[in-house]
């Protein structure tokens, strides 16, 4: 799919079908309400020209119970192994659901997969608007990033041909904040505008995008017997997502008042600082390296 001459735009097929997924985590409310409202507006007869938008509530059971997941995190169920695992009575609900979603929106890796998946998430971390894509050579997603002036790159898997997660915070899980909902709504509109422009033949210029690539994560200090955390993210790090962290900077403040410092050798960019759902995954924050990724000019190939 890469063009032969480096000066020409890369041509890619039109994105005729875009899937908007909310409620992949049942307590991340912005996406759930956005999908429900989009569905309501569609029923009222609002046309969506030049691109078909499919809306999905990914994990309806978790949404109904307002929990992240019922048995296992749906957003970790899209590996090829899990998608092809045989289903029995003991198969967790979310694995059955990931296989259903794969049929509906994929199958992953096939020609019938939807062209673009936008998976809507919230975080308790102060991350603003972030796009999370899984490949730094996905020119569609990177051009969308550039269009939205948002930023991140992290290896989560996707089912569509192109996919990204749109993560907006800070918002407590189980809460819907107006400013966060509006930000997500505007970002989704901008993204769909870009898709319509792309599909109608607009050439998007080459350029570069700042991308944060995850290097490692840091867990909370824990009690060796109970495994309970013994410190909170330090007040000087709390809410400072994407501010450069230097060796020696404070990262934790123990409940008994001691400061624990960053012992890495390299200054890195922290993000997902104090995300509620990551306590059980043993992650207090992620650390990323920042780089500029060059993206070629792209244009839709006319069939």
């Amino acid at each position: 799919r890469l063009s032969a001459l480096c000066c020409q735009a890369v041509t890619l097929p039109a994105l005729s079908c875009v899937a908007l997924c909310g409620g992949t985590h049942g307590n991340e409310l912005s996406g759930i309400y956005l999908v429900q409202e989009t569905l309501k507006n569609k029923r009222k007869g609002e046309a969506m020209e030049a691109v078909t938008v499919v809306t999905v509530i990914s994990n309806p059971r978790a949404v109904q119970q307002r929990v992240r997941y019922t048995e296992t995190d749906l957003n970790r169920c899209f590996t090829y192994a899990m998608l092809s695992a045989p289903v029995s009575e003991r198969t967790p609900y979310e694995i059955i659901r990931s296989q259903e979603l794969n049929s509906l929106l994929g199958p992953k890796g096939s020609g019938q997969a939807v062209d673009l998946i936008c998976d809507l998430h919230n975080t308790t971390a102060n991350m603003g608007l972030c796009l999370i894509t899984y490949a730094d050579s996905d020119w569609i997603c990177l051009h969308i990033c550039k269009h939205l002036q948002a930023r991140t790159n992290d290896p989560y898997t996707s089912v569509g041909k192109h996919g990204f997660a749109m993560e907006i915070g800070p918002q407590p899980h189980g809460v819907i904040r107006s400013n966060i909902f509006t930000a997500m709504q505007e970002a989704v509109h901008l993204m769909l505008d870009w898709v319509r422009l792309f599909n109608s033949g607009t050439q998007f210029d080459e350029g570069s995008v700042d991308v944060y690539t995850m290097v490692k994560n840091i867990d909370y200090p824990r009690d060796p017997y109970t495994h309970n955390i013994t410190a909170a993210v330090h007040p000087e790090l709390q809410d400072r997502d994407f501010c450069l962290l230097y060796p020696g900077d404070p990262i934790f403040l123990s409940f008994s008042g001691e400061i624990l410092r960053y012992k890495g050798k390299e200054p890195l960019y922290p993000f997902f600082i104090n995300e509620c759902a990551y306590y059980e995954k043993g992650v207090a924050l992620l650390l990323a390296r920042k780089s500029k990724v060059k993206i070629p000019a792209i244009q839709c190939s006319r069939a």
């Binding site: 409202e37 308790t124 809460v175 819907i176 709390q238 509620c276």
Partner: protein, 314 residues
């Protein structure tokens, strides 16, 4: 102003994890226990019982397992017979009542400080039942003087003690310390420090009071709970049709006047406050209240006079 003599404080309890996902208390309780192990019983002016109120909910990091524990302390529920189908939290409430009460008797612990968090922007809010409980009113006054990092307010619920449903009503002088904003399931260092300071200030007050000094009265501003307001909802599905308006979000304890925005519907309309009487909203956009049909509560602000008090050994 007169002087009211009251018995010395002999016992106190600090409770965390009454809601298993309100993490400040969940971590402050073991930290207090660690301090006591390290420094011994003389650390505090009175023996302090530390309790993790709802251990099963804490383990699962959920608000509750079967039923909200903090609604299980009415006299009726505390005396109801236990069967196979009794919810876990009702049984636990009865255990806590034996341990720290019994509610309404002379054996009840003197002070309970129950630690809570909220997703609402409420600073440090003291919640209690009685505006004539001078111990509580003085503790609140002292907290207001000593805590400067965040605003400190008092909410009074106008409910007789036998109908009072929350854990701290088991004590002779019970308060909830509610600190926010903090997402449930998250522990923030700044919020932890406010709560830790709050508990230390309460202990400090007990020491002053027990020393026999006259504690001077004053005028204090309090917020008396008036009523709750729900989200506008779809009549068929009961789903909310609107979100807290961005101009109201995070403005807990502001004064709402007629016409001020309350909600923003998903279709972009503003729903305004249409009552005559200006009131003060609080618990604005608390996660746990969505299922209880509450977008926020409203309170009337009042100035109360509290008398001088003095401890007397009886």
């Amino acid at each position: 102003m007169g002087l009211i003599t009251l018995p010395v404080i002999r016992r106190m309890a600090v409770c965390g994890g009454t809601h298993g996902n309100e993490l400040t208390g969940v971590y402050l309780v073991p930290e207090l226990e660690r301090q006591r192990r390290e420094k011994g019983d003389t650390l505090w002016p009175v023996p302090v019982t530390t309790v993790l109120s709802n251990p099963r909910a804490v383990k699962e990091c959920k608000r509750y397992v079967n039923k909200d524990l903090n609604r299980c302390f009415t006299s009726a529920i505390l005396s109801s017979p236990v069967t196979d189908t009794t919810p876990y939290e009702v049984q636990r409430a009865q255990e806590l009542n034996s341990m720290l009460g019994p509610k309404g008797t002379a054996d009840a612990t003197d002070i309970i400080c129950d630690l809570h968090n909220t997703t609402a922007n409420m600073g440090l809010t003291v919640i209690s039942y009685s505006h004539t409980n001078w111990v509580i009113m003085h503790i609140y006054k002292y907290l207001q003087e000593k805590i400067t990092k965040v605003p400190v307010r008092l909410i009074l619920l106008n409910i007789p003690i036998c109908d009072a449903y929350s854990l701290e009503s088991v004590a002779k002088h019970g308060i909830s310390l509610e600190v926010g904003p903090q997402p449930h399931g998250v522990v923030r260092a700044d919020i932890f420090n406010v709560m830790k300071e709050g508990v230390n200030v309460v202990l400090d007050w007990i020491q002053h009071f027990n020393s026999g000094k006259v504690i001077e009265g004053a005028e204090v501003d309090v917020f008396m709970f008036e009523k709750s307001v729900d989200y506008p909802r779809d009549t068929e599905t009961q789903n909310p049709l609107a979100v807290i308006h961005p101009q109201l979000q995070d403005q807990d304890f502001c004064l709402l006047q007629r016409g001020d925005p309350l909600f923003l519907t998903f279709s972009g309309e503003t729903v305004g406050y249409d009552e005559e009487e200006p009131l003060h909203p609080f618990f604005i956009n608390e996660a746990a209240y969505y299922e209880k049909g509450i977008a926020f509560h409203l309170a009337r602000k009042k100035t109360l006079v509290i008398p001088n008090i003095q401890a007397k050994n009886d």
